[in-house]
């Protein structure tokens, strides 16, 4: 546990969460959401919850990003709201 590291990751976490909510380009939003998943995976690994971090890296950052991009490809790329 290094608290400075925690603070930096948490800061990036909030920033990426806000960016992925604000982006109108849904492809960009899903990629930023993948970055968010990687950051929270780092945070969990750093706090000692290795199993959860592993799941987050595989499901959140890996497969769900691919699935979201596949969905964006088949719908509209721009968000209306």
């Amino acid at each position: 546990m290094i608290w400075q590291f925690d603070i930096i990751i948490l800061l990036f976490l909030v920033v990426t969460a806000l960016i992925s909510l604000r982006l109108k380009d849904l492809l960009g939003a899903s990629i930023v959401f993948g970055i968010y998943s990687f950051l929270i995976c780092l945070l969990w690994a750093e706090m000692g919850a290795v199993d959860v971090a592993f799941t987050e890296a595989a499901v959140g950052a890996g497969v769900s990003t691919v699935i979201m991009i596949a969905t964006v490809y088949n719908t509209k790329r721009r968000s209306k709201d």
Partner: protein, 252 residues
């Protein structure tokens, strides 16, 4: 409508923030989760002696809370079924909403295909290792299953969806995912047949006589394999349907 949503979010968020004040302090030794009479201390002290499983997380997930994990697997199964149902319900299968998507016109790139042929076996081997080694190191059925599914998705990305569906067709994947749940629930019923409660692994000891503690470990391994089957198949089915609007051709 937007204003209403904002008001709802603000009210819920402030309620949650207000309620979080009642949480015990982080790492507080006297909090209910950490004090001596509670289950978490028992898990830490007894789980290795009782289940012979070094990874306590897996012991809790697949043994102490096995019933919970079984229905987590069922949730994934139902999610895959729901996606198929919704996508096949939208419009006719031959004419998707919002225009047609072009079928893969060009042949897949040689370098990408050869790289995938090199990488995919390694991914799959590592996925099997993660499943089989789940009770010694971080990992288990969910993670290994997702990685195995991801290797199939990688093949679909490299060569087009039809090539991947030739390896694992949708009906076969659905059968595979159902087999996973049958393995999980079947092991639970086997414990009942041998005289125990549902998922009480200790009663499967006569099948592989290595001691009651080892029977817990074997039970966990079998249950994790069931989870891995379901997760692998459902991840691939979800990708195949979402990337082709439920038509299972063309796609990314």
């Amino acid at each position: 409508m937007k204003l209403l949503g904002l008001v709802a979010v603000i009210i819920t968020g402030s309620l949650l923030l207000y309620a979080s004040g009642d949480f015990p302090a982080w790492g507080d030794a006297n909090s209910p989760a950490n004090s001596n009479q509670q289950v978490s201390v028992r898990y830490i002290q007894d789980s290795y002696a009782k289940t012979k499983t070094p990874n306590e997380v897996t012991a809790v997930l697949a043994d102490y809370r096995g019933f919970d994990t079984m229905f987590e697997t069922v949730v994934i199964f139902v999610a895959g079924i729901a996606i198929i149902a919704i996508l096949s319900f939208l419009g006719e299968p031959n004419k998707p909403r919002g225009g047609d998507i072009e079928e893969h016109p060009e042949t897949p790139d040689l370098i990408i295909v050869q790289t995938c042929k090199l990488v995919i076996p390694i991914i799959q081997l590592f996925a099997l290792y993660v499943v089989a080694h789940g009770h010694y190191s971080p990992g288990g059925g969910f993670q290994g299953g997702v990685m195995f599914g991801a290797s199939l998705i990688l093949w679909a990305l490299a060569c087009g969806l039809p090539a991947a569906l030739k390896r694992l067709s949708e009906p076969r994947a659905l059968v595979l995912s159902a087999i996973g749940i049958i393995i999980y629930a079947g092991w639970g019923f086997l414990c009942m047949l041998l005289g125990g409660n549902f998922l009480e692994y200790a009663f499967t000891d006569p099948l592989l006589p290595e001691g009651v503690e080892k029977a817990h470990s074997h039970g966990m391994l079998i249950v994790e394999i069931g989870v891995a089957f379901t997760v692998t198949a459902i991840m691939f089915v979800i990708y195949a349907n979402l990337s082709s609007r439920g038509r299972l051709k063309g796609g990314l």
